[in-house]
């Protein structure tokens, strides 16, 4: 393997660290824009990981996936979210039900939990334990964000993080699904974000606030 390929393999093996850091920073963030930037950073890291895999396996499809992830997940979706945050003119804070320090401890606990969860599977599947743990950690953190954050847009960010985790799990175990499927999944995500933004506007217009914990009219 050439120079870049060995380095690519090593960088790939250690890049799970960056994902853990984005998870922790996202849990500790106090503003919506910080979370969106962390999501963009996460997607960029994942695009670099796909790039490393593309170099290692000389797969042209993988290069296309790199471009897809970079353009849509690292650029287009965060840009759209920033525009929505601006247009909503709502307070920019993340209304969280836990303080910053508690959130980061919970996120750290979720990371440890994901390590324990993947231990039995990683050896059998022959994949890097850290990367698979990072994928599960992303999924769990996405869920945690959706549950503990009360702003409508934060639920969207949590959903995006969850989806990132699933994408990473696919990447680690199978080195990516066929290109057509990947394109379809990302396109679905984009439409989903667009629709959720639309609904956020509607929530603000009908309810005069964006706090989803107060959407409790329908019960029982």
């Amino acid at each position: 393997m050439g120079l870049f390929e060995t380095e690519a393999a090593k960088a790939l093996a250690s890049s799970a660290v960056f994902l853990f850091i984005t998870v922790l920073l996202m849990a500790a963030a106090k503003r919506i824009s910080t979370c969106i930037m962390m999501f963009s950073a996460q997607s960029a890291v994942m695009a670099m990981q796909v790039l490393a895999i593309a170099r290692m396996r000389h797969s042209r499809e993988a290069y296309a996936i790199v471009a897809l992830v970079l353009i849509v997940k690292a650029a287009a979706i965060p840009y759209a979210l920033f525009r929505i945050v601006d247009a909503l003119k709502a307070p920019r804070d993340v209304s969280s039900s836990t303080t910053s320090a508690q959130s980061i401890f919970i996120a750290a606990g979720l990371i440890l939990l994901s390590f324990f969860a993947v231990k039995p599977y990683a050896g059998a599947l022959g994949v890097d334990e850290a990367m698979l743990a990072a994928a599960v950690a992303l999924i769990l953190t996405g869920g945690f964000l959706m549950v503990s954050r009360k702003k409508a847009l934060m639920q969207v960010v949590g959903l995006l993080v969850l989806d990132n985790g699933i994408f990473l799990a696919a990447l680690t175990t199978t080195f990516g699904m066929p290109l057509v499927i990947e394109i379809g999944v990302v396109f679905d995500l984009l439409m989903g974000v667009f629709l959720m933004g639309l609904f956020a506007f509607r929530i603000r217009d009908t309810f005069e606030h964006l706090d989803v914990s107060k959407l409790r009219r329908l019960r029982g």
């Binding site: 853990f20 922790l24 910053s100 750290a108």
Partner: protein, 312 residues
Amino acid sequence: MTIAINVVQVLMLVLMAPLVRGVIARIKARIQNRRGASVLRPYSDLAKLFHKEDLVPPSASFVFRLAPVVMFAVTVVAAAFIPVLRSSALLGIRGDFFILVYVLALGRFFLLLGAMDGGSSFGGMGASREVLVSTLAETPLLLALMSLAMVAHTASIEKMVLWTTGQDFFELSAVHALAFAAMALVAIAETGRIPVDNPTTHLELTMIHEAMVLEYSGPSLALIEWAGAIKLTVIMALLVGLFLPWGMAATFSLPAVAIALVLWLVKLGGMALALALVESSVAKLRMYLVPDFLGVASALAILAVVFTALMR
């Protein structure tokens, strides 16, 4: 030869400290679109202060005059633990990272006593705030250093640096990344920079460190200011040494040492730039949010320690 280099290292840290402060202030000024004072300004400030009269409050005891001297001595001793040009330090012994942390704590203890001895209410207020910050900052600092020690299987800073130079740059270690994040946050708290404390504020209610030294003047103030600058430089050098030590001289030859010096200056400059950028872009935290800030650092440090077991 080793001792000579180690002494040179200590002298470098002590004498360059005001320059580091000056550089950071200059960069901040440039970011704020001002021209800023010369980078050598802190030296002329110190010289000016040494010529002035030392005023002591009538109610103060000997502690008030002792505190600046102890503080200065302590930071010079702390500078002796840090490898700069070679992975060796003048006082490098086993377990010296513990000693480093508590030597700095000793200096801070005397400063607190001196502040309370001064008799003004601002001294007491600054002292109580400083104690809050330093208590919360101690845990992440020790845990981060411990995690690095566990990974390197050694207990002295110079050996840790030696171990890190032997690692491949591309194999990033999760422990190091987390420990760096934790220590960066703690560094900001320990050295009293934004967002924990504003070193240039003149509003007493926003002061932590400044409130403690409000009563000092003349040579005592000079010693305290210098000690603060040395502490900043020491912590920055510690971060550079622990996390970016590649390029340190392995031999005593002049070219190797020269390269090491240049590289070290570049890295320190980079750190200064990063600090200036952070200070210019973030607002100072309100006092009740500082525990949250340090709680984040604690979580990162705890995670670093746990990761030493996970990423074997």
